[in-house]
Symmetry: C2
Subunit: 134 residues, 2 copies
Amino acid sequence: METENKNQVEMGSNFAPKYDENGLIPAIVQSHATNEVLMLAYMNAAALTKTLETGLAHFWSRSRQSMWLKGETSGQIQHVKEINIDCDQDTLLLKVVVAGDRGCCHVGFENCFYRVVNSNEDGAPSLVITGKKP
Amino acid sequence: METENKNQVEMGSNFAPKYDENGLIPAIVQSHATNEVLMLAYMNAAALTKTLETGLAHFWSRSRQSMWLKGETSGQIQHVKEINIDCDQDTLLLKVVVAGDRGCCHVGFENCFYRVVNSNEDGAPSLVITGKKP
C-alpha cells in the first residue's frame, strides 16, 4: 500500500470497508450496555448496506450462503447503536441493543463465548463452560 | 456437521479450534479491565500454542506472513488473562492487560476502532474519529 493511500485508509473520513477474497468482512458484535462481546459474524456488502438502512444487524451466513437478519427466528434482533471500523478498515465493530430475551447464541447462552480455555499443566488445554443463559 | 459432532463442538470440553482455509482463526482482543474491544487479529496453530505457553498474545501477520509477538516493538505487550472460544470454535476472544503505554493501535490510538461510521441522510456513510490516544 502506498503511503498516501495508507494514510487515507487509516485517518481519512472515507468509509471503504475492505472485503476478503470471499467478499466478506468480519463484524464483532458487542453489547452497547455492558461492553460484553456477544459474537463474531460476517457481512458482505449487501448485508452491511441493509444494516445501515434498517439499523438492524444483518449478516452473511457462510454455511447457508444467504443473508440473514439476526434474530429473525429467535426474536434476538440486534438494534445497532454504533458501528466502528478499524485502522485498516477490514473489521467492523457493532454496538447493539438486543431484543427478545436479550440472548445471542443459538446454543442458548447470553453470548457465544461461553467457554474458557483452561491450560492444564499436563496435557492439552480443555474447555470449561462459564457462560450464563438469559 | 452430524448432530453428535455438532453437540461435541458446541458443548464439549474438547478444545478444537477450527482454522480457515488459510490455517487461521480470528482472535478478538478485549481489555480485561474495561471490556473495551482493542483489535482483531489472526492466529495460526503455532501462534496459539505460543500464546498458551507464554501468556503473551502472539498472532500471525497476513501481510508479513510471519508470527509476531504483539508489542515486541512498541512495548504494548498483551498479557492474556483469559481465552474464550465461541460456540462453533471458529473465533477466539482474548481478555488482556496491556503493558507499555497501554495503547494498542499502530496509528496511535488506545484501540483500533477509533472511527465511527456516520450515516448521512444524503449520500454515502463517512467516518468520524472518536478514539483517544493513550
